[in-house]
Subunit: 211 residues, 2 copies
DNA sequence: GTGTGTGAAAGTATTCACAGCC
DNA sequence: GGCTGTGAATACTTTCACACAC
């Protein structure tokens, strides 16, 4: 009953784990397995069973005591939890190597993410097809955002351009941004912002290597 | 005094933040600012001042009461904390768009990460220069690892190949792996393993968008 | 006065352990 | 017997608030 209401009480750490459970379950499903216990799933995903049960318990009761979870059912429920029973419109801003790599990522469409546009500032790149039809010039971005309902902007521009680009999309009410540029973006308006940062990852490895 | 001993007591959450402090401080340094308070740095990096002071306090006393932190000094100290006062040898396995994008990332060498080899399974790709000299065939990887002291293996292969590749490098005693393939890699041997995962990032955005 | 360094307090997250159901 | 769902216990993180140094 509490299942369909606010998600605000769900721990931030739970959310990325749900996506891992989902992916692993899809793999398990494709192997033909129809039922799985939290123990077995935990082994596969590299966590502990109580963690999985607790994570799921925030959303409802999906298992059967003494048996485990029905794989199909749990996949359906997890998709619902993650907002994946609909499609989201995505654009990529910055159509260099990284942007192109992301555009070509196959798992993309599969989970309901619709890549509806790619942008670049370089006239050499504009017009070429890098995975989502012709790349558009960045100067058309603002107009594009007025005409399309973009849910997620993926930013893969050089860092010098990134803050500007992010300001522009946030100002145009794009509700979420996935930023690959090595800057900590800031914004006045509330926006869902996630950073993916190679240099932080490398430095974190360096820290533990140096122990 | 406790400064030069074990790092085991340092919270996992602190480590990535240190790298963000470092990057921001380098920017501040390049603007010519020589002293900064935890308050100002916190504003720039988007956290709170106590967090910064607490994070730094695990490593030593780097500030001056009533004044703040000397920017040059703090950069030096953070590099030391993060194990960046030396160089690390890195290879990239999977020299497609993503691997190439990472190889071309400029901040790479700047912080002491030495890209000493790139590998690919595709004969079309092998031999071409994608940012670190000619790409080597994946069959030479094992031998390469025997002959070179590789500290970090970045895996950007398709997911079907990733677990094999990771097993191989871990077995060859490469002490850390940064995996971009959408699999949760597992390993017997202890290895420092970090995952970067587009689909988890997108699903996390989806969750919050759906609220 | 200003701003650090740090115990103590508050807030989150994970793990335990067991009642309840299959 | 086996496994879920969940309060309670533990562990971890962040934030507060103030003594102390400049």
């Amino acid at each position: 009953m509490a299942q369909n209401s606010r998600k605000l009480a769900i721990p931030a750490a739970t959310v990325p784990r749900l996506s891992q459970y989902l992916r692993k379950l899809q793999e398990i499903q494709s192997r033909g397995t129809t039922t799985i216990s939290s123990r077995l799933l935990a082994d596969e995903v590299g966590t502990n069973p109580a963690q999985i049960r607790k994570d799921l318990s925030y959303f409802g009761e999906f298992g059967i005591r003494g048996v485990g979870y029905d794989v199909d059912r749990l996949i359906t429920e997890l998709k619902k939890c993650l907002g994946l029973n609909r499609s989201w419109n995505v654009i990529i801003i910055g159509s260099g190597k990284l942007g192109t790599a992301l555009a070509l990522y196959r798992g993309f469409q599969r989970q309901g993410f619709n890549l509806i546009g790619m942008f670049d500032a370089d006239p050499e790149v504009v017009g070429s097809d890098r995975g989502a039809g012709p790349v558009l010039p960045i100067k058309d971005l603002k107009k594009f955002l007025q005409e399309h309902d973009v849910h997620i902007a993926i930013v893969t521009t050089p860092s010098a351009a990134a803050q500007q680009v992010i300001d522009l999309v946030v100002d145009a009410d794009v509700p979420s941004v996935l930023n690959f540029a090595p800057i900590r973006a800031s914004s006045e308006k509330p926006v869902i912002l996630r950073q993916v940062d190679l240099s932080t990852e490398l430095m974190t490895l360096s820290f533990y290597l140096d122990k």
